[in-house]
């Protein structure tokens, strides 16, 4: 490492702070509009257009930024106004008409529209009269935001805003004060477990790559995120991609790797465009490329896109897709740390895993390890440190993206924070960890489960990537199981016979049962198919692909019985059976 009296980072930080100061305390109001995927679906771009045209027509000067998601997706389109030296006042479910009024009365007139405000955030601690602190909203109050610390607060396409809020101090610290081994040590100490599904300790995995002497090594960041019901990876990349870019760069330093890919499914423009924007700025500022911050460390990052394929999120299929091929999993061994993408040693991590890394390095591994659940070896609980980044959707009052300490119970998340099931209905089940995670009944015992990777596994569910779909009492389990298996059939890559045929066959049987044409033998038949898939499949898709059926039978076997024996429906589900099929050729 070159000895440097003053790191070039000092200048970058100075410029970032000057710009931030100007934005927040200058003489112009600052308007932020949520235009992430949920914001878009709720009409965020229409609101943005209305704000811009109102400012122009009314001749009002203000800064306008698109931001990602604050996580309160239910409240989108979300718009907030920060007057010079004032707190941010948030408006929920904004329409273009309301946006126009907000510009006139609040931005130009200085009077917040109290009746439309959902809350205020930030200094001064006393917000405008009549508006409550958004931090007290149930969906915000219990959060501990590490990976989501900037989400919804900064312009995700502006690297200076990230830096002004503490960004890149971790990389600067690692490069100037720590050896690669020290950096890896912090991640080991943190106990960080992978957030892509398998919860493998990140520090251990990095160690495999660090130990490989090959001069060309890759760090791959997995944002395939094909699991329906999960939107946290894209949520992070559309809200604060820089934390992932910094995280992958630190991983590169710790593992002595020289290239990184951030792998995203095509067609999701906010995560793709915003990630590309900050990568470009990082190059411009010397935070990527040759001799980062004037040191000997060089690292390149680019975005790689895939077509529609859930299985391309599997680590070896992902490498095939980056190489531009059909994304079918490879045989292991050799493992990625020996032979990865383009034949070179590689390490794969999920977006969330890498998003934590800057804060772990900045605050120390011990700090991260102090959050979460302790190990309990007698019960095969290894301990889960840090937070869970959860996506709440389905029959729940407040849908959205939240970050809470591991160790919180499902009940706290679903009732205290998310407000339970609307319309006075009861909660029937949860679908967690993507379709392969199957279903979990919303029994008292299950609602008392704490968020912990091993506790969930012991209960037969997967915390995995953090998607939680809530279903109320009207939901038909047979029908939902059919839907999940239809997904598994649709996404089977076709490489192995037990998975390709098994999924199709399971789907046929489930359709039969849904149509009240199932027989007693069908249950045994499904179990037989499931056993074959588990034993004879190459990747997790086939190995875990029977989970939706086995978990549904475990908790709701009586509903299958009613369909099969009594020829009776048990929920209000549409009579039409809809399951698209696909055979990948």
């Amino acid at each position: 490492m070159t000895a440097q009296t003053e790191s070039p980072f000092t200048d970058i930080l100075g410029e970032a702070r000057r710009r931030w100061e100007n934005l927040t305390t200058g003489d112009r109001p600052w308007i932020r509009v949520g235009t992430g995927l949920a914001g878009e679906a709720a009409g965020g771009f229409e609101v943005l257009a209305a704000v811009n045209s109102a400012l122009e027509r009314q001749q009002v000067a203000a800064n306008v930024s698109e931001v990602g998601t604050l996580g309160l997706c239910f409240a989108e389109p979300l718009l907030d106004v920060q007057m010079p030296n004032g707190s941010r006042v948030f408006y929920s479910q904004v329409t273009p008409e309301l946006a126009e009024r907000i510009v006139r009365e609040h931005v130009a007139g200085g009077n917040p529209l109290v009746e439309h405000a959902i809350g205020y955030l930030g200094e001064p601690t006393q917000g405008p009269a009549g508006i409550s602190n958004l931090q007290d909203h149930p969906m915000m109050a219990l959060q501990q935001r590490i990976a989501l610390r900037n989400a919804g607060n900064i312009d995700p396409s502006d690297l200076y805003q990230y830096i002004a809020n503490g960004g890149y101090s971790a990389l600067n610290k690692a490069l100037t004060e720590m050896s690669p081994g020290d950096t890896l040590g912090e991640v080991r100490t943190s106990g960080l477990r992978g957030r892509g599904g398998a919860a493998f300790p990140a520090g251990v995995k990095w160690g495999f790559l660090a130990g490989n002497p090959d001069p060309n090594k890759y760090i791959l960041c997995n944002c395939e995120e094909g699991d329906p019901g999960a939107f946290n990876d894209r949520g992070i990349l559309e809200s604060d991609p820089a934390t992932v870019v910094e995280g992958i760069t630190i991983a590169g330093y710790a593992c002595n790797a020289n290239r990184g890919y951030i792998f995203i499914r095509h067609g999701h423009n906010q995560p793709i465009d915003r990630t590309r924007a900050v990568i470009q700025q990082a190059y411009d500022l010397g935070l990527l490329g040759q001799n980062i911050l004037g040191t000997d460390f060089s690292f390149d990052v680019e975005v790689a896109l895939t077509g529609d394929s859930y299985v391309s999120g599997e680590e070896t299929a992902l490498m095939e897709a980056i190489e531009g091929k059909r994304s079918m999993p490879r045989f292991r061994p050799p493992f990625p740390a020996q032979v990865g993408v383009f034949g070179k040693p590689s390490n794969i991590n999920n977006v969330k895993t890498l998003a934590y890394v800057p804060e772990i390095v900045a605050r120390g591994g011990d700090w991260f390890a102090s959050i979460g659940t302790p190990p309990d070896p007698d019960n095969r609980i290894n301990g889960s440190s840090g937070t869970a980044i959860l996506c709440l959707s389905g029959d729940i009052k407040y849908t959205g993206l939240i970050e809470v300490p591991l160790g919180m119970t499902l009940r706290q998340v679903l009732f205290d924070m998310a407000g339970g099931v609307p319309n006075g209905k009861s909660m029937k089940l949860l679908q967690t960890g993507g379709p392969l995670g199957g279903v979990l009944s919303a029994s008292d015992a299950n609602l008392d489960l704490v968020l912990d990777f091993d506790v969930f596994r012991a209960a037969g569910a997967i915390l995995g990537s953090g998607g939680i779909i809530v279903a109320d009492e009207d939901t038909c389990v047979v029908d939902l199981t059919r839907n999940l298996i239809a997904f598994c059939q649709y996404e089977s890559c076709g490489k192995c016979f037990p998975c390709r045929m098994g999924m199709s066959h399971l789907l046929e049987v489930l359709e039969r049962i849904s149509n009240l044409e199932g027989t007693e033998e069908d249950l045994a038949l499904m179990r037989n198919i499931g056993e074959n898939m588990q034993a004879g499949s190459l990747c997790g898709h086939g190995q875990l692909g029977f989970n939706p059926v086995s978990s549904a039978l475990r908790y709701f076997g009586h509903e299958f019985d009613a369909h099969i024996r009594e020829k009776r429906h048990t929920g209000d589900c549409p009579d039409q059976v809809f399951s698209p099929r696909l055979t990948r050729r």
Binding site: G229, A230, F231, L305, A471, E491
Partner: protein, 159 residues
């Protein structure tokens, strides 16, 4: 095929900005540029990547997002992922089919519109979700699916 389209294909395949250029990245670039993968594009990719046309077809046919004939003017996507399913996607899908006069995904007989099923459009918090020409719309009911589609049909540019 007209020269303008050929030129678009050529540019998509040969002027990619990122440093890792592959068969898949080239096909995605063509799809972005013209909305489908004609045989001319397969040829161009095979030349650019120095692989056989079979190798290119193998990749193109694996990913269901690629289509091989020109796109229609109106692309309607409806999500059937479990969040949307729980929130009533089946009825939305039926309504979309009805509004387009289709009984499954595919192009309308008059070639004006396309219906596609999607496993997750990424806005699950606003389920059920649909997308019209790549613009997401959430909390869709069968009624507003019908009205959004008929509105889009009348405002779609004529061929």
């Amino acid at each position: 095929m007209d020269d303008a389209t050929l030129q678009l294909i050529d540019r998509a395949v040969n002027d990619q900005l990122q440093s890792t250029v592959t068969v898949l990245s080239s096909l995605l670039a063509v799809e972005d540029a013209i909305g489908y993968i004609p045989t001319e594009a397969v040829d161009a990719v095979s030349v650019r990547m120095d692989v056989t046309v079979n190798d290119v077809w193998a990749v193109a046919t694996f990913y269901p997002n690629f289509r091989f004939d020109p796109p229609t003017d109106l692309r309607v996507e409806v999500c059937w992922g479990p969040s949307c399913h729980v929130m009533g996607a089946t009825a939305v899908i039926s309504a979309a089919q009805e509004a387009l006069g289709l009984s499954d995904e595919g192009d309308t007989p008059d070639g004006k519109a396309t219906l596609r099923y999607n496993t997750c459009l990424g806005a699950c918090a606003h389920a059920p979700v649909m997308a019209i020409n790549h613009h997401l719309a959430g909390r869709i009911t069968p009624d507003n699916a019908r009205s959004k589609i008929s509105q889009a049909l009348t405002s779609a540019p004529a061929h």
